[in-house]
Symmetry: C2
Subunit: 119 residues, 2 copies
């Protein structure tokens, strides 16, 4: 299975934090759309990675990483993604919040190795 972690990249870069309450997390149609969007996003210029997690009650995050704000805007306006956003608002999400942020520092730990940058 592929790692659920996005690759480690030296900052600076950008992140979109999409926090959402899914009203129907068992909807198979949603799963298909989410996978299509993840695959499509990975083909976009400036895409750096994607991570997601969801609680059993439907609250969760989709987090994507990008080289620039322009890359984020370009992805946001992709026709297929606009369609997915409309479906999300009309059918799936009870509540969501989107934050765009510039990653300034990053560090990581694996059980058998450490990559630094920690202060």
């Amino acid at each position: 299975m592929a790692s659920p972690f996005a690759p480690f990249i030296e900052p600076p870069y950008y992140v979109v934090i999409f926090t959402n309450q899914h009203g129907a997390p068992d909807d198979a149609e949603y799963d298909v759309m989410a996978e299509e969007m993840e695959t499509l996003a990975a083909t976009m210029p400036g895409y750096l990675g994607f991570e997601a997690a969801r609680n059993e009650d439907g609250f969760g995050f989709a987090i994507s990483y990008w080289e620039s704000e322009d890359a984020i805007k370009n992805w946001k306006r992709h026709a297929d993604h606009l369609n997915a956003q409309r479906r999300g608002r009309s059918d799936w999400y009870d509540d969501y919040m989107v934050r765009v942020a510039k990653v300034e520092r990053a560090y990581s730990m694996k059980r058998t190795e450490k990559t630094a940058g920690d202060d």
Copy 2:
């Protein structure tokens, strides 16, 4: 039940994205520590909010929001939090990544209302 969403706040502010693979997500001791840290963080200067989600396989996020980088550094160095970080590295997390980012834009949607800021 309290909302799992952090409050909506106008940017700019800071976010710490803690992405992790938990090796023992059913460990009750972890749950106690996580709740203690969430409660303690909320008492720290510059704290703005907290959100978390985890998949059944143990991959998840703890995301906290702060007024400034100094507030983040101050929280990171709190003695009880340092102890929790040590326990996390030694006993709970197989793998984690921490990103500190400056939130530049934010917008949200609720099923019955919309708060703007969208571009």
